[in-house]
Every structure is written in structure tokens, then in C-alpha cells.
């Protein structure tokens, strides 16, 4: 097992408490060494590959921001043609920007075509590599550098895009949500996804200390709060059906999650901010109801 811990080596330039470093490590622990990693542009790519150094002890390729799905497709097709596919898993690891926004077309194509690839989205809910700009993964009410609160704004005006279900709708045999706050759960799901033949998808919630505004010692704590407040439900889907849900016995109010982060601080100060918090609580309530989280 010790070798598996070293597939992504220390010495990269990730921030203290970096969600990407944890998530990537968990992914490699789940997948193992027989892998080729495709890493679209983002924090993870930049912090692990400053020429002539690399933090990767597995074959790794970065091409562009929005083509992870296509590059992974090409690798899979080529290995098949060259007779080298074997059990090698092609694993895409991208952020919310490259996965949910600019690269969704490429990823959709790869999934629709049914390539034998695993794609993992490390979702820190904004463009962190460029300094915390709003993405379609940014939740309602969050302040980012392009969705700031103001006299006529409470921050980001929309809910997160439900990327996991979009990928399930492609006919993926296995999709799952994970959180870096639940390492064993994430590693288990990644392993299952890697062992499933066909295009599989893991969406990992990944709190970013610098972008979200919390102390770098609190990454895991914040991640757990998202699950405990039911804002980030953990579930698995096989062939389009929800098959496993992680129960949350006594869901905490969303305020506990929101007040721990600077990006939501304005909601507690602004007039009618409580109404925005209510909308966020409603989202959590919908998750509880839909996934039967507290049953």
C-alpha cells in the first residue's frame, strides 16, 4: 500500500490544506498504478508539473483546458488499436471549470461514445487557478471575484449545475458523488468506478481554503459539514438508478456550513440575507427528501 501513497509525490506547490492534492491522491489510491492520467488545465496541473519536475509517478498528460474527455478518448482508442489496453484505466482528473463548463462538450462526447474511461471532477466550486471566479459549480449565494455581493446582489444568483446526473444521463454504468472529507468512501467509489467497464464518473466535493475563506487546517471539517447539512449528498448510481445513499441521521442547519466560510459571510450581514439562506436550506431539504438522506 505504501507505494500507492507515492503515486502523487510530495513537493508539489499546492497550498496548505489543498483539496486538489488530497483528491488526486485518493483517486490514485483507488485506481492503482495501471493508469494513464489525463489532467486538464487547472490548479492540480500547474502545481504538479513545473518543467523539469513532476509530482506524478504514473503516466500523466496535460493538453488543454477543455479537451480532457477527447484526449482520454484518443488514448483509450489508441491503446485498443495498439493491443496494449489490457486493464489499464484512463482516468481524467479535472476541476469544475474544465469539467462542468468549458470541457463539458468534450466530456459529453467521450461518455456518449462509451469509451472505457473514468473521469473525476474535483469540484471546488469556482475557477481557483485564476483567482476564484464563478463557475457553474458555484453554489447559490457564494461570493466569488466575478459574483460579488453588492447593493443589488447577494452573490452568485444560481444553484450548482447537477453534473453528476448529467453524466448519469449519458448512460454511464456507474456515477457517484464523493467528498474529500470521506476518504475511505471516496477511495472505495473510485475503485469501483475504475473496475467498471465503460465511461464512469466521480464528482468529488472539494473545499478550497483560499477560495472559500477558511483556515487551511479546516478543509476536512468544511467538507464534512457540506455532507452533514445535506448540501452535498453522497450517493451512487448504477445504470441510471440510485443504488446507494450515505445517510445523514440528524442533518445540521445550513448556517453551520455557511458561517464557517468567508464566501457566504455577506449573507449574515445583508438585509434580507436570511431569505437567501432560506433558499439554500430549501436546497438541502430537497436533497434530504429526494435522496431520503435521513430515513
Amino acid at each position: 500500500m505504501s507505494e500507492r501513497f507515492n503515486l502523487l509525490t510530495p513537493g508539489h506547490s499546492g497550498c496548505a490544506g489543498c483539496c486538489d492534492a488530497l483528491a488526486a491522491k485518493y483517486v490514485l489510491m483507488g485506481v492503482g498504478e495501471d493508469v494513464i492520467v489525463v489532467n486538464p488545465t487547472g490548479c492540480l496541473e500547474v502545481m504538479t508539473s513545473p518543467f523539469p519536475n513532476t509530482a506524478w509517478n504514473v503516466p500523466w498528460i496535460h493538453s488543454l483546458f477543455e479537451n480532457g474527455g477527447a484526449v482520454a478518448s484518443g488514448i483509450e482508442a489508441a491503446l485498443k488499436s495498439l493491443g496494449r489496453k489490457g486493464n489499464t484505466k484512463i482516468v481524467g482528473i479535472g476541476g469544475d471549470g474544465s469539467t462542468m463548463d468549458i470541457g463539458i462538450g468534450s466530456l459529453s462526447g467521450a461518455f456518449e461514445r462509451g469509451h472505457d474511461i473514468l473521469y473525476v471532477c474535483i469540484d471546488n466550486e469556482a475557477y481557483m487557478n485564476t483567482g476564484n471566479q464563478r463557475s457553474s459549480g458555484t453554489p447559490l449565494g457564494a461570493s466569488t471575484s466575478t459574483s460579488p455581493p453588492g447593493s443589488v446582489s447577494y452573490g452568485n444568483p444560481t444553484h450548482k449545475k447537477d453534473m453528476t446526473r448529467i453524466m448519469a444521463a449519458h448512460g454511464s454504468p456507474y456515477v457517484a458523488t464523493t467528498s474529500i472529507g470521506y476518504a475511505n468512501d471516496m477511495i472505495r467509489k473510485v475503485k469501483k468506478a475504475a473496475e467498471t467497464v465503460g465511461p464512469t464518473y466521480i464528482h468529488s466535493h472539494a473545499p478550497c481554503p483560499t477560495g472559500w475563506g477558511f483556515d487551511s487546517s479546516k478543509t476536512i471539517e468544511i467538507a464534512k459539514l457540506a455532507v452533514e447539512t445535506c448540501l452535498w449528498p453522497l450517493y451512487e448510481m448504477e445504470d441510471g438508478e440510485v443504488t446507494q445513499v450515505r445517510k445523514v441521521k440528524d442533518p445540521k442547519p445550513v448556517e453551520e456550513y455557511l458561517k464557517a466560510q468567508k464566501r457566504f459571510r455577506h449573507l449574515f450581514k445583508m438585509e434580507d440575507g436570511d431569505k437567501e439562506i432560506e433558499k439554500i436550506q430549501k436546497q438541502a431539504d430537497r436533497n434530504i427528501e429526494y435522496y431520503g438522506l435521513n430515513k
Binding site: N67, A70, V71
Partner: protein, 407 residues
């Protein structure tokens, strides 16, 4: 310099096929591992023909990917090439433009992808007909660009392109450019590539570096200011190597197949020509017919055919034009805001700082598929002769024809 050498004994092997088929057939004989495909007029026939070949098992082991956009067509080949596959795609115009970002990436990562660009005008206004604005606009992407004069050359260049691209000292992608409709859709007698000859000419692709779990390597690293320049410099060095490689490969191809279309450049009645027309692509066929007429009248008109636009064969061009009395570049593209075609600009720059003081003029013709007829070429030659006789250039660069009613 010779032109379009066809071994006479091979004429019996000629068949009449569409240009797109001849190219697709040549691709088949290169034994590609991965082909990515997305439809766009006038390129589509090539990937349609290839899909039939794959469906019939005629390209053993080949994976054919129907991608969702041209951007993914080229990106999939980046991934495929990174694990050591021989790769092919074809595109045109808007599709090539959609690839733009990934073109630079493929060259920067030194993947020897071969792609046919079926030249077409670019939007707006939308126009599906031929000119060469699309590939010319990708000039600085780091791809080798070869322009074919006829369908035989477009097909033969596919094999040559792989050999140039995969050379260990080159390792750059290659665009084989052929004029849309005029070449892609025309039925002409060609000699289809023979599989045995193809195998003899083109060895299997065995790259030094691949993505392999048994020997992990990182591809596509971050290059900061301390090293970025050297990455770009090494591409330029590879382009220098390609200058010789393109010549060598053309010779090797001739040895095996008997067919030769020129190296970096080619000439037609060039040696003693006073008036030298310079062009690339299918315009050359029409120009040669017109030059034949002039030669029959004893007038010293000749042609310099540019085959390689990238790398740009500066030395070869200087030598070829050393005795020209006047030069006229005729081309199907325009650098807007410079009011001339890219070839004209580059050709003049190649002659700067040399002893060649021959006047040069340029003509922009055939944009968006407008026919270029022999009489248009004659008019251009006559105007060029006038400049030579009077020693006065009214307009350095001109549109051959502008219809007042649409202005």
C-alpha cells in the same frame, strides 16, 4: 526541375476516382491506428470513405472515432499520439478554426499527427467553396504545411507527410492542403497507393517517448519563463530539419513509386523565365496551361510552385528566383489590413537583404470559390509584363476582380 513525374509503365495502373477517395486510400495504406472524424463540407467525403474501409476491416486494428466537434477530433489525436498511435484526421475552414488552440498544442507537444485540410473559405459570409484562407490562417501553429497541386499529389503527400512528421529530429504535425471541390470532388485518373510500396516507404511508427504505466512519464508540463523560449526554439530547429527532410522524402518516394511532385518547391519553365509566376495549390494547373501558350509564342514565362509553406523554403526560393526579371504571386487568401496574400508578403521578405532587386507584384484571386479562368491568368501576366516594360508599379497588390455592384 521536374514536374509530376509519372513512370510511364505505371499509366496502366491509373484509375479514375474522386480526389477524396484517392486521399482516403492513401491514408489506408499508411495503416493508421486512430482516425477521428467530424463532417464538414467539402472535407466529408474523405472521412466517409475511411469509415467504409474501417467498417469492412480494410484497415486492421484501426479505431475510428466519430467525435462531437473538430476541437475533439484533433484533441483525441493528441491523446492517441501520446501513447504511440499513428493518427489521421481531415477538416476544413470552420472546423480547422475550431481546432486552432489544439493545433498549437499538438505541435508544441511534438505529436506527428497528419491531417488533410481541404481548403475552403471562412465565414462571414458563410461560404463552402474553395480558397486557402483557412490553412494560411494557421501559419504560425507549428505545423508543417504542404500544398498539393492535384489529386495525385494530395494522396501521395499523405504517405510522405507521415515520413516527414515521424522523423525523430522533426516530430511535428503535418497538414496536407488540397483545394476544396477543385481537388476533393474532382474525378481524375490517379495511381492509387500500392500497399507493398507504402509499407516499403513508410516504416511503422515507433516513438521514443510514450505514455506507459510501466515507465511513467509526464507530458504537457508547465513551461515557465526560464524554459519556454527553448521549447519554441526547438520547434524552429525541427522546422529547419524538415526543410531537408521534405526534399529527401520526396526523393525516396520517387525511388519507390516513380512519382515525384517536387520537394520544397518545384519549377515549370522556370530556368530561363523572365516573368515568374509564383503560387501554390490547384491554381498551378491552370497557370501551366497558360504558360504553355506563352512558351509556344516564345515568351519567357515560367512558374515557381511553392509546395512547403511551413517551413518556408527561403533559400530554395532565393535560388529559384535569382534570374527572374519580374515576379508575380497569385494566391487565394488575404491578410486583411495588409491588402495582400500571405505568400506575397513572405516571398518579398525572403528576397529582402539579397541582391535580387526584381520587382514583385501580387494578385488576390479566387476568394470564396470564384473561378479563376485561363483568361484571368493571361490578364495578370499581361499586367505583369507591363510593369516590367514600364518599370512602374501602380499597385503592388491587387484584387484580380472586384464587382462594383456588390460594394
Amino acid at each position: 526541375m521536374s514536374t509530376n513525374t509519372v513512370n510511364p509503365k505505371d499509366k496502366s495502373k491509373m484509375v479514375v476516382v474522386e480526389g477524396s477517395y484517392a486521399t482516403a486510400h492513401a491514408v489506408k495504406t499508411a495503416r493508421p491506428n486512430v482516425i477521428s472524424a467530424y463532417p464538414i463540407t467539402p472535407q466529408t467525403h474523405i472521412v466517409e470513405e475511411l469509415s467504409k474501409m474501417v467498417a469492412n476491416g480494410e484497415i486492421p486494428g484501426c479505431e475510428y472515432i466519430n467525435v462531437e466537434a473538430e476541437f475533439s477530433a484533433i484533441s483525441a489525436l493528441v491523446g492517441a499520439s501520446a501513447v504511440g498511435a499513428r493518427t489521421y484526421s481531415a477538416t476544413t475552414s470552420q472546423g480547422l478554426f475550431l481546432m486552432h488552440e489544439a493545433l498549437f498544442n499538438a505541435a508544441g507537444m511534438r505529436f506527428p499527427i497528419v491531417m488533410t485540410v481541404v481548403n475552403r473559405a471562412v465565414s462571414a459570409p458563410i461560404n463552402i467553396w474553395n480558397d486557402q484562407q483557412d490553412s494560411i490562417s494557421q501559419r504560425d501553429a507549428g505545423w508543417i504545411q504542404i500544398y498539393a497541386e492535384d489529386t495525385q499529389e494530395a494522396a501521395d503527400m499523405v504517405l510522405q507527410a507521415y515520413k516527414i512528421a515521424e522523423d525523430k529530429d522533426v516530430m511535428l504535425p503535418v497538414m496536407v492542403c488540397m483545394d476544396g471541390f477543385i481537388l476533393s470532388h474532382v474525378y481524375e485518373p490517379v495511381i492509387l497507393m500500392d500497399q507493398k510500396e507504402a509499407d516499403e516507404f513508410l516504416p511503422p511508427y515507433k516513438p521514443e517517448n510514450i505514455l506507459d504505466p510501466k515507465n511513467p512519464k509526464s507530458f504537457g508540463a508547465l513551461g515557465d519563463p526560464s524554459c519556454y523560449t527553448e521549447f519554441r526554439y526547438s520547434i524552429e530547429q525541427a522546422m529547419d530539419v524538415a526543410l531537408q527532410k521534405i526534399e529527401d522524402v520526396a526523393e525516396e518516394f520517387k525511388q519507390i513509386t516513380g512519382r515525384y511532385h517536387g520537394g520544397l518547391i518545384d519549377g515549370y519553365h522556370l530556368e530561363d523565365a523572365d516573368v515568374v509566376l509564383v503560387s501554390f495549390g490547384s491554381l498551378l494547373g491552370t497557370m501551366k496551361d497558360v504558360v504553355d501558350d506563352y512558351r509556344m509564342r516564345g515568351e519567357k514565362v515560367g512558374i515557381l510552385k511553392i509546395r512547403s509553406f511551413r517551413p518556408f523554403p527561403v533559400e530554395a526560393i532565393r535560388k529559384a528566383l535569382s534570374s527572374a526579371k519580374i515576379i508575380c504571386v497569385i494566391e487565394k487568401n488575404i491578410s486583411l489590413g495588409r491588402k495582400e496574400g500571405a505568400l506575397f508578403t513572405e516571398l518579398k521578405s525572403a528576397l529582402y537583404n539579397t541582391e535580387n532587386t526584381a520587382p514583385a507584384i501580387g494578385y488576390i484571386v479566387g476568394l470564396g470559390g470564384r473561378d479563376v479562368l485561363p483568361r484571368h491568368i493571361e490578364e495578370i501576366i499581361e499586367r505583369t509584363k507591363t510593369v516590367l516594360e514600364t518599370g512602374s508599379i501602380d499597385s503592388e497588390s491587387s484584387f484580380n476582380e472586384v464587382k462594383e455592384e456588390f460594394l
